[in-house]
């Protein structure tokens, strides 16, 4: 399930793209899974069809989905390694009690990652 919230200040297409990308990368959406039609997704989320098309196109350019004659399907991609997911889970579990937002947690990862690369 994906949600588009008015309280989220990011554009709707970005909210859709990010949630779908997360589900594909985490393996919850398996290769070959057919995404809902643009009309269905747009109707359910109460957004314009063009917004869904943009999200799907960006996922396609990221190599996560492929366009077929019957719609968009999840591509065969390299899943996140178990060790990486396990480490991420430990990090998330440690942050949840302190009420840190996803954005802040991701920013912290980027900062630390960049610091490691610069050493």
């Amino acid at each position: 399930m994906i949600t588009v919230s008015q309280e989220d200040h990011r554009p709707a297409y970005e909210q859709v793209r990010e949630q779908l990308a997360d589900q594909i990368l985490s393996g919850r959406l398996l290769p070959g899974h057919r995404l809902p039609s643009v009309r269905q997704m747009a109707g359910d989320l109460g957004i314009a069809g063009g917004t869904v098309v943009r999200a799907y196109k960006e996922l396609e350019s990221d190599g996560l989905v492929e366009a077929t004659r019957t719609g968009f399907r999840v591509r065969q991609i390299q899943q996140i390694a178990d060790a990486t997911r396990s480490a991420a889970k430990k990090y998330v579990d440690s942050l949840i009690p302190s009420g840190v937002s996803l954005e802040e947690a991701m920013r912290a990862v980027r900062v630390e990652w960049a610091g490691t690369q610069n050493k």
């Binding site: 399930m1 589900q23 899974h33 057919r34 809902p36 039609s37 269905q40 109707g43 359910d44 109460g46």
Partner: protein
């Protein structure tokens, strides 16, 4: 076609009396929070309006076709009357196609969607859809078969011997069958469009609302299928009776001039029985559809825990 004129008003009368005496309980009940109950009630009101419109438009279309066929008869009354039930069904189902469902509001500040491509058989058993498709295709096959039995004029059937000739009309040859087959095809297309629009209509994801949504979709699918199947089976029944009457008439022969034909007599009986059964089944489907149309799709009871 006199039997059409005589049978149809009686069928409508029986239909109206039966529907008026039926209990109109809801299609289903669920428990929901107070905000969800309001949302479901609003959706139910909109669906009830659509259902009344569906019935009303169908009855108006039927009345118009019967009036044209019986009073004005600008071209030929038989074909106009034969198309009346199918035209009424097409008109009713167009209403469902235009307004398949009323969306149930989930929340004012966020909307959710499931990440699966919805299919018709997620909301109605596949056998139900297959059975309806089979009935439509079977009816077309019957009309083609009867069409090949008729005379070249497409409106009568004859039997000739060296000493005499006997004929019967109206018989469902291609003069009558072609517009009926065309109407059945149009009906099939309209039903398919309605079912596709029911399937693709926006859907909430919160569990009690999703349950309501599934029930209203199933309700709309059944309504469209019952109207469509009822009209096709009823129309087939009328013409099977005519075909049966014709076959039996020719099979009886003419004393001293034409020997009776047992196979034609047997075919006549078979077609007559099939015709009467089809007419009764068609009326039953129309009553059933009317009963469903007058029901509330789902009544949401406020949950004791969430009051």
């Amino acid at each position: 076609m006199l039997s059409v004129l005589l049978a149809l008003p009686w069928a409508l009368l029986i239909l109206a009396i039966t529907i008026s005496t039926l209990k109109h309980g809801p299609f289903g009940r669920i428990e929901a929070s107070s905000s969800q109950t309001t949302s479901v009630a609003e959706a139910n009101r909109a669906l009830a309006q659509r259902n009344w419109l569906t019935v009303g438009v169908g009855l108006v279309a039927l009345a118009v076709m019967l009036t044209i066929g019986t009073i004005y008869a600008p071209l030929d009354s038989d074909r106009t009357l034969a198309l009346a039930p199918l035209t009424a069904a097409i008109s009713s189902i167009v209403v469902i196609a235009i307004r398949p469902l009323s969306s149930i509001t989930e929340s004012n500040d966020s909307r959710s969607a499931d990440i699966i491509q919805r299919r018709l058989w997620h909301f109605a058993p596949a056998w139900m859809i297959a059975a309806a498709a089979l009935i439509l295709a079977g009816s077309i096959a019957v009309f083609i078969l009867l069409g090949t039995m008729a005379d070249a004029d497409g409106m009568s059937i004859s039997r000739r011997t060296a000493r005499s000739e006997k004929s019967w009309d109206p018989f469902p040859g291609f003069f009558y069958a072609v517009p009926i087959i065309a109407a059945i095809v149009v009906l099939g297309i309209v039903v398919a469009i309605a079912l596709a629009r029911i399937t693709n209509a926006p859907r909430p994801t919160a569990p009690p609302l999703a349950e309501v949504d599934s029930a209203t979709r199933f309700h709309a699918i059944k309504l469209a299928l019952k109207i469509g199947v009822g009209a096709v089976v009823y129309t087939s029944g009328i013409w099977l009776i005519h075909a049966g009457g014709g076959s039996r008439h020719l099979g009886e022969g003419i004393p001293e001039f034409m020997d009776p034909d047992p196979s034609l007599l047997a075919l006549g009986k078979l077609l007559l029985i099939a015709g009467w059964v089809s007419q009764l089944v068609g009326i039953a489907f129309a009553v059933w559809a009317g009963k469903d149309a007058l029901k509330d799709p789902v009544v949401a009871k406020q949950s004791l825990l969430q009051k």
